[in-house]
């Protein structure tokens, strides 16, 4: 009697049996236990991202790295199980289709995906729930593709090599190869190397809660498409081997589907490479233009032209192609007439109207007025321009957009020269040029359109979408539907919606409270408050700045929870953030070379040491609420802590530590004698005569400070 063919029943039976054989084995439980231990000991409480952030960055990377190895081993074991127990000969004569193989493979995939439970628990502990809910599905989806690929790869290897003992050695080698080898070559010029890193998500660790994964562009798409297509290739290869074994022939459909999947994989590889290539082309293009003008172009040299007023209108009615109208005043600050004032405007922005004649070579604009600008003379110019901006950074060989404007967000950092900058500079060079930061100018900015987005700028806000400063040297504009603006004491916090609660508490505790003490001890600098950018890669300069009395500070949620704030030494870290714009020289000469100039860096030098000393003094002052005796005690504690750190890690013993310790000690002694007034006097002198102070040998720092304090 012939029974009716029932593939779903066979699939179900194979699936259930395989799942049982995998999951009810002691080794599987042990793996989960080890995995939980590894994750909980290394990840919990170490980083402050929300659930979604964890799903999109660190956790994703860790889970892919380690569990792809588990996937390879489990899958190889699943595929060879029948042969290993000598059941294959019976099994192959059963009237089954490929349903049982699909059942086994999917059971293996489910068993592997169960290793997402522990990270999901970790992410859920971070919360909030909305962040967890929006992150979990893409997380599982991304893992599924990679794990499916890994299991299929293991199956193909097992089908080629058979159930030999050294199969697992080969599998181990493949895993190491997939995880490690591409990392070595990621920085190379080969544009597609990054895609072979199975663990990588095809992108740097972006702060996805403000902009989503949009800055990564199509990179994640190409990455996942590549592995999904390769999965197809592998499955068809395995199927063809099973067909040859079971049916003694390979069907054309399998070959055709495999070939189509291979073509798609190659297309994805091409798309991925094109993205990397585009990023490199952007870099190379900017440098090539600069080189073409190298006779005129001296990086960071002062320029005769300066812009001292901007009226910017950013029209985002069509957010993908913003339209800019800028009225600005160019001044000749040189001593000779200036025939052709030079400007830089990113070449992707097309000038449609200009009140003045100009010539343009890519980013470099040369004004050609009828009359040269006499020294000190000014000229008002109006430009209208528009264009789609999509400028990329390469991070570890993987591109990520730093400048964009679309419905998911707007990010116009000052470095991309999205507004005319005086002189010629290389746009979008984070490290190459600081001349994008121009002379102080009066700037107003009005943003039109893009309803639903919250906008932030380094310019203080004067309305929902208007910003203005009397004196600012650069302008950045950030907008996102996921961003929120919150008032925290005298701070304005711009951050991701999900990060707001934690960062609000953080800013309150470590910035606004510290600011009150800074205002008390450095009263001659009028500080209105803080503008805090709570984002990972806020489009701000590396040093914090002061604009119209607003201190522009960047931070992020990770900082908030990576650091144990019980230690005044660490609390001082955040205070030094706030001191940075008050002691502008503090970032100069930050490192000291070994004598003889052989390039060996000894450590941070006098400048940073003095700044750390001041920050530590304020931290101790805060902690002891100005009580001199408690402060002395705290200082002894800090000193002991530093000594212990140096003993544990001798290279930490650098000149900065000596300067720091002496500055802290001296300020405490000055305070003990002269109180707040003496400290105010001293810090005023430090600000005014900072170069003189840091030029002192360390043993003279105390003398210098006491003299500056005017206390006996």
């Amino acid at each position: 009697m012939r029974n009716q063919n029932n593939p779903p029943a066979r699939y179900g039976a194979a699936f259930r049996l395989e799942l049982r054989l995998i999951c009810l084995h002691w080794s599987y439980a042990l793996l989960h236990l080890l995995w939980a231990l590894v994750l909980f000991s290394s990840v919990v409480g170490r980083s402050g991202g929300t659930a979604q952030w964890a799903f999109e960055t660190g956790l994703l990377f860790v889970v892919r790295t380690l569990i792809s190895g588990v996937a390879l081993f489990l899958a190889a074991n699943t595929f060879t199980r029948s042969s290993n127990i000598r059941f294959a000969a019976i099994e192959d004569t059963l009237p089954t289709g490929f349903d049982i193989w699909v059942g086994r493979w999917s059971a293996c995939l489910v068993a592997v995906l169960a290793f997402a439970i522990e990270p999901a628990i970790i992410a859920s502990l971070r919360g909030p729930f909305a962040s967890f809910a929006s992150g979990i599905i893409p997380f599982i989806f991304k893992l599924s593709i990679i794990f499916a690929f890994a299991t299929a790869l293991a199956w193909l290897l097992a089908s080629l090599l058979g159930s030999r003992r050294w199969l697992f050695l080969v599998i181990a080698g493949v895993w190491v190869g997939l995880i490690i080898i591409p990392t070595f070559f990621q920085m190379s010029r080969v544009p597609f190397v990054g895609i072979f890193n199975l663990a990588g998500n095809g992108s740097p660790l972006n702060y996805t809660e403000v902009f989503g994964t949009m800055p990564q562009g199509l990179q994640p798409f190409w990455f996942h498409l590549f592995y999904a297509a390769l999965l197809g290739v592998l499955l068809m290869a395995v199927l063809s081997r099973l067909q040859a074994r079971r049916l003694h022939r390979v069907s054309r459909q399998v070959v055709a589907i495999g070939a189509a999947a291979l073509v798609i994989a190659l297309l994805a590889l091409g798309g991925y490479s094109a993205n990397v290539f585009t990023a490199r082309a952007q870099e190379d293009y900017a440098r090539a233009i600069a080189k073409r003008h190298e006779t005129d172009f001296v990086i960071n040299a002062p320029t005769p032209e300066a812009i001292n007023r901007y009226d910017l209108t950013v029209d985002l009615t069509n957010v993908s192609t913003p339209r800019f109208t800028v009225e600005f005043v160019v001044t000749n600050r040189g001593e000779t007439p200036l025939a052709n004032p030079r400007l830089t405007l990113h070449h992707d922005l097309t000038i449609t109207e200009s009140s003045e004649r100009y010539t343009r070579d890519s980013d470099f604009v040369t004004l050609t007025p009828d009359q040269p600008l006499a020294p000190g003379e000014t000229q008002t110019i109006k430009l209208t321009y528009s264009g789609s901006l999509w400028l990329l950074d390469l991070f570890g060989g993987i591109p990520s957009a730093n400048t964009f404007s679309n419905t998911e967000g707007v990010r116009l950092p000052y470095i991309s020269c999205w507004y005319p900058v005086a002189g010629w500079v290389i746009p979008n060079e984070m490290y190459g040029s600081t001349r994008v930061i121009g002379s102080p100018a009066q700037i107003t900015m009005k943003v039109i359109g893009a309803p639903g987005m919250t906008f932030a700028s380094n310019l203080p806000a004067t309305g929902e979408q208007t910003f203005a400063a009397q004196s600012a040297q650069w302008v950045s504009l950030v907008g996102s539907p996921r961003m929120v603006k919150a008032s925290v004491g005298n701070a304005i916090l711009y951050t991701a919606q999900f990060d707001q609660p934690e960062l609000t508490a953080f800013v309150e505790k470590y910035y606004t409270s510290a600011l009150a003490y800074i205002q008390r001890l450095i009263p001659d600098v009028p500080i209105k408050g803080l503008i805090v950018f709570g984002m990972e890669r806020a489009p701000l300069p590396f040093s914090n700045t002061l604009i119209d009395g607003w201190m522009i500070v960047r931070t992020n949620r990770q900082w908030a929870s990576y650091i144990d704030f019980g230690d005044a030494n660490q609390r001082a870290y955040f205070i030094s953030d706030l001191l940075e714009p008050l002691f502008p020289k503090s970032s100069e000469s930050a490192v000291t070379e070994a004598p003889g100039g052989n390039g060996i860096i000894l450590g941070y030098g006098a400048n940073s040491g003095v700044m750390e000393g001041i920050a530590n003094f304020i931290a101790v002052y805060m902690q002891a609420n100005g009580d001199s005796a408690s402060m002395s005690q705290a200082i002894v504690g800090l000193k002991t802590l530093d000594e212990a750190r140096i003993a544990a890690n001798p290279p930490l013993a650098n000149p900065a530590l000596t300067y720091k310790a002496l500055t802290l000690q001296s300020l405490a002694e000055i305070y003990a004698v002269g109180g707040d007034a003496a400290i105010i006097r001293t810090l005023r002198q430090v600000r005014q005569r900072q170069p003189e102070l840091v030029a002192q040998p360390s043993e003279k720092v105390g003398v210098w400070l006491r003299e500056a304090s005017n206390v006996p």
Partner: protein, 296 residues
Amino acid sequence: MDIQITNLTKDYGKFRALDAVSLHIGSGMFGLLGANGAGKSTLMRILATLQPLTSGQVKVDSFDVMHQPAEVRQRLGYMPQDFGFFRRLNAVEMLDYIGTMKNIPRAERKRQIETVLEEVNLTRDARRRVGSYSGGMKQRLGIAQALLGNPSLLIVDEPTAGLDPEERIRFRNLLARISGQRTVILSTHIVADIEASCVGVAVLNRGRLVFSGTPDGLIDQARGKVWHLEVPATEWEHIEQQFRVISTRTAGKTVQVRMLTDENPSGQGIPLEPGLEDGYMAVLGAKGADKVAIYA
């Protein structure tokens, strides 16, 4: 059930495992006899759709094993020479799994599992993990799984190899009992396995079919050629070199020899009624051909 094998050849690289084998197998139990390496397992694996053939044709009923393996598998029960089961499953779970794979509906499956377990006398141990089974129990479970789905063709490859004599006899009886109306192909190198209940027999020698017919036909191959001779132990070596000795028995200072020869050896031989093993030895041909194991 009708199995037609025509000019079947199977090569493994340069080695020819089966050489133009043509054979017809009808209903009932059919024995495939041959020494180790004769090609029995290769032929069984081809019949069981596990291996492609190099040339020729094998049809099970009207289905070609090469081109319609799925149809053949629907009708097939197979017990390989060397097999195992998922050790952590018990017999019922294992049979339920295989029954599902054989597309047996759930209710029917339950009934059949009980029946086959009863048939192979494993009912009492049905809930024990298969990993704890003895060799004989495993063999019986092997035949039980092959019986599931009531296949019209049952292929058992060397089922008694490795079993102790008691288990072997029990197993042989079991096979005889289940052969019924179906075709059972039994491959073995033990002649006694065939003797009990086979209606047809074929002998393979080094990939070639050297005999095909009934067991009586195979016995007839040795008729008039089997002799009993009693010789002093000192002459044994000489006798062994001169004749094809089937078996010997030492009795004091003499050796009783059962031998295969066309003429009365030394004029002192006593003619014997041939058995199946004599026929088998006779079709193997020249002296020194592969020996077959002969058990009581």
